[in-house]
């Protein structure tokens, strides 16, 4: 099972800190579509996806062993 983590306004929008999900190997872009369908409250929100704690493009592959995180704009400091 893959873990999908939600932070900041995205945790607020989905009502979830994290969820676990069986994932066929797929691109980040595919997963993103899936999550937007599952959580329509994410629609229109600005976020990036970290895969195993790294940011990158939407062609990266994710699978069952991946830690995935949806990150809204940073506001540390």
């Amino acid at each position: 099972m893959a873990t999908i983590k939600y932070f900041g306004m995205l945790a607020e929008a989905t009502g979830l800190q994290e969820e676990r999900m069986a994932l066929e190997p797929q691109a980040v872009s595919t997963l993103k579509q899936l999550l937007l369908e599952k959580h329509p409250t994410l629609m229109g929100k600005d976020f990036r996806i970290a895969v195993n704690q790294e940011l990158g493009d939407d062609n990266r592959m994710v699978s069952d062993t991946t830690e995935i995180a949806l990150l809204p704009p940073f506001s540390g400091g």
């Binding site: 932070f7 900041g8 704690q53 540390g76």
Partner: protein
Amino acid sequence: MKKPKKVFIDGPISPEFVANSIQKHQSKTSIGAHSLFLGQIRADEVDGKVVKGIEYTAYEDMANKVFHEIREATFEKYELSCMHIYHSLGFVPTGENSLLVFVSAPHRTVVFEALAWLVQEIKDKAPVFGKEIFEDDSHQWKENV
């Protein structure tokens, strides 16, 4: 990889905490210059409502990795004796501090640029999220620009 240094602190970074950090450098007698940055919570007004504090959360595992990488990059880039980053988690009231960045070097020239660069890196790269809480307990999500 060395064990990442502890960055996150529960609640505000107190003046005493800063004093304690300064104190710890007094045995490092090759240091001639320190430069410190403190981020303080502003009582911003938005649509007539005043911010009473910011509630910070973070993707802690990733943030610790990012802080470690920033740390390594800083030492590559600048000739520093040492550097420290501390960031609050949880609620920090208006007027108190949520970020301390502390750089030290034998001579002063390098510390100013290193400090400015570091603060920018942290703002850009650390997955930390601030929720501005107003006096009526409504909130808005902060966004670094």
